[in-house]
């Protein structure tokens, strides 16, 4: 076993730690804001799954692109989208990333390669396959990540898109990485109750797509797998699938209060492998994190979140005329 410092720069790991703490505190705040009625609609948080997006989004280049589902706050923040603009979007303000027209489920930051959060389970996967085709059609070596949950594994959209990716990949025309964030439940239905084959990675065998599982709670493992897979996909133009085994600590959405589908003991068991705690232990072991440093990171993250909330609170609502914009381009007006 290599020593930690040989596997990855500890400064990079400290940076992951900062960002994961920020995402965690940001989303905890959104849960409070939701209960206070400041955030409407649905709110799906990523708490517990942070290592997956952190590892993958750090493994791609600035000019690469990605799509995800509605559990999308972390992906935006980790890619560097301004936390103020993310919070303002959740607050339904015109200063939000989508001018307050998308909300929690539809964050976008195309300038950073983030092609969106989508609200229909599995529905964005074909888009990512077409996008990946385009990247090669235009002669680039850019890649596309497509994040989705275990619930999407049973949707026709996934299977039709994966088959196309497998086909187009044979000609080196589909540089997409399917990142299955297996958080164990599609809303309240466990993988065992939803999927006839519970090794989700292996289901990509049906489409000639190389695949593997990885520990989605350990950001270092995720990062290493992601770097290797992204490099291969960039080189070959062929798709690849990674099933990151992870867990959602919060309910499915803000309305999932009773969680009859799982036990407290199960949640506690997974909490012992909280990705932030795992990373923290590693950093302490490497001697680059102590109580004081951890407190400093936490204080910084709290400051960023507070600032984002302040900004969102004091931002204006979209003006009424915004209702009618962004429906059509010039042709349809």
């Amino acid at each position: 076993m290599k020593r930690l410092e040989e596997r990855v720069d500890v400064q990079k790991m400290l940076d992951w730690y900062r960002r994961m703490v920020l995402v965690r505190l940001f989303e905890s705040e959104t849960e409070r804001s939701f209960r206070r009625g400041k955030i409407g609609g649905y709110l799906h948080v990523y708490i517990g799954q942070e290592a997956v997006a952190t590892g993958f989004l750090d493994a791609i280049r600035e000019d690469d692109i990605f799509f995800t589902s509605y559990r999308d706050h972390a992906h935006a923040l980790l890619r560097g989208t301004d936390p103020r603009a993310v919070m303002a979007e959740l607050y339904g303000k015109v200063t939000g990333v989508c001018k307050g027209k998308g909300g929690s489920m539809h964050l976008f930051d195309v300038a950073r390669g983030f092609y969106g959060g989508y609200g229909i389970v599995g529905g964005h996967i074909p888009l990512a396959v077409g996008a990946a085709y385009t990247l090669r059609y235009e002669g680039t070596d850019r890649v596309c990540l497509c994040f989705f949950g275990d619930g999407a594994m049973n949707c026709g959209a996934l299977h039709e898109a994966a088959n196309l990716a497998g086909l187009w990949g044979k000609a080196g025309l589909c540089p997409v990485v399917f990142v299955v964030e297996n958080n164990q439940y599609g809303m309240g239905t466990s993988v065992e109750r939803a999927s006839a084959v519970t090794n989700l990675a292996r289901r990509f065998d049906a489409y000639a797509i190389p695949n593997e599982q990885c520990d989605g709670m350990d950001v270092l493992t995720v990062y290493e797998v992601a770097c290797r897979v992204v490099e291969e996909v960039r080189r070959t133009g062929r798709p690849y699938a990674v099933e990151a085994i992870t867990y959602r600590f919060s309910g499915h959405g803000a309305a999932d209060l009773f969680q009859a589908y799982r036990t407290k003991e199960e949640v506690e068991r997974w909490r012992k492998r909280d990705p932030i705690l795992l990373l923290e232990a590693r950093l302490r072991e490497a001697g680059v994190l102590d109580d004081a440093k951890a407190a400093e990171v936490r204080a910084w993250a709290e400051g960023v979140v507070l600032d984002a909330v302040e900004f969102a609170e004091h931002s204006p609502e979209p003006p009424p005329e915004e209702l009618y914009t962004d429906v059509y381009g010039a042709l349809g007006r």
């Binding site: 990333v97 195309v110 229909i120 074909p126 396959v129 990946a132 385009t134 962004d326 010039a330």
Partner: protein, 324 residues
């Protein structure tokens, strides 16, 4: 002007636009090696190669969704549906992604994409292969819907659609592919949302589009013998819907008949009729009549099928009723 078929108008536009813009790519079932079910894309695989003429599996949800992703990244895909009946597995992609992603992204992306293929009833294709989708897709903001009847309009609207910035539902009709007409030479384009008065008349306005337009025109010719002079309006696009042209005609004739192939309830004619009442209530001398398909799934038997869809006689009866 050059005389060409509706099929050739569409095919030549695809060629002209693909020659002009390398971002235009085609996707669909059997459009390449097979040559296209209705021969629209014949020869294009040889001409442009498999990267631009993409034969897909029978997988509408997948390839229409992929087309949307291509469009979001800057290509201009023209996706063929073998018939519009087969678009239903992809309805989620069309309605939930293509139509809305511009809006919920706050304008960060758009979908310059055309989905085209035959709409409406064929000959004895029974219930699953005979439907018309103009009101279904026309219901959703974010989509544009074209239903040209004439070769020239098919060409002009398709060119505009391919060069545009929005997802376009391009409804052809299998019964029209062999129809001939004069088509302007050069880069003929036609804006969306402009209906055309294809026959001038004084007494009754007949509003229609796509295949039904031809029934309306022949009904109008026969009605001359009754001394009824019909004006016939071809909508050409249903979204945007050019009600200005329709209303101007109705204000002149004071009577209107709306003809559609699809079912009566919640059909395109219901919307058009409602807007005629809203805009022209005081101008009307008779209630507006609708001539529509019968409210049943399409049957196979030829005699039943003939009863299921509008024909000239029904249009003539409706015109006579409104003409009083």
């Amino acid at each position: 002007m050059t005389e060409m078929t509706y099929r050739e108008a569409i095919r030549s536009t695809l060629i002209e636009e693909m020659d002009r813009d390398p971002r235009v790519v085609l996707l669909g079932e059997d459009i390449g090696v097979y040559g296209g079910t209705f021969r629209i894309t014949e020869g294009l695989l040889t001409r442009y190669g498999p990267r631009r003429v993409i034969d897909t599996p029978i997988s509408e949800l997948g390839f229409i969704g992929a087309g949307i992703g291509m469009a979001m990244l800057g290509l201009r895909p023209v996706v063929e549906v073998m018939t519009w009946n087969f678009s239903l597995p992809a309805a989620d992609q069309i309605l939930q992604n293509a139509a809305k992603v511009r809006y919920f992204s706050g304008g960060q992306v758009h979908v310059p994409m055309v989905i085209r293929g035959p709409n409406g009833a064929g000959v004895q294709l029974s219930a699953q292969h005979s439907q018309s989708f103009e009101s279904f897709y026309g219901h959703f903001p974010g989509l544009l819907v074209a239903a040209p009847a004439m070769p020239a309009d098919a060409k002009g609207l398709l060119r505009t659609a391919i060069r545009g910035e929005d997802p376009v539902i391009f409804l052809e009709h299998a019964a029209l592919y062999g129809i001939k007409g004069e088509v302007p030479d050069g880069e003929h384009t036609l804006p969306f949302g402009r209906a055309s008065v294809v026959r001038q008349g004084r007494d009754v306005t007949i509003v229609s589009y796509s295949r039904m337009l031809y029934l309306a025109l022949s009904a109008a010719e026969r009605l001359v013998h009754d001394g009824i002079d019909c004006e016939v309006v071809d909508l050409r696009t249903l979204r945007p819907l050019d009600m200005d042209t329709v209303a101007a005609s109705v204000r002149k004739t004071h009577r209107a008949v709306v003809v559609q192939e699809q079912w009566r309830l919640f059909g395109a004619a219901a919307e058009i009729t409602a807007q005629i009442y809203e805009r022209c209530f005081d101008d009307l001398d008779a209630p507006v009549e609708r001539v529509t398909g019968e409210d049943v799934p399409a049957p196979y038997a030829r005699n039943l099928e003939l009863r299921a869809f509008p024909n000239e006689d029904r249009i003539i009866d409706a015109v006579r009723r409104v003409a009083g």
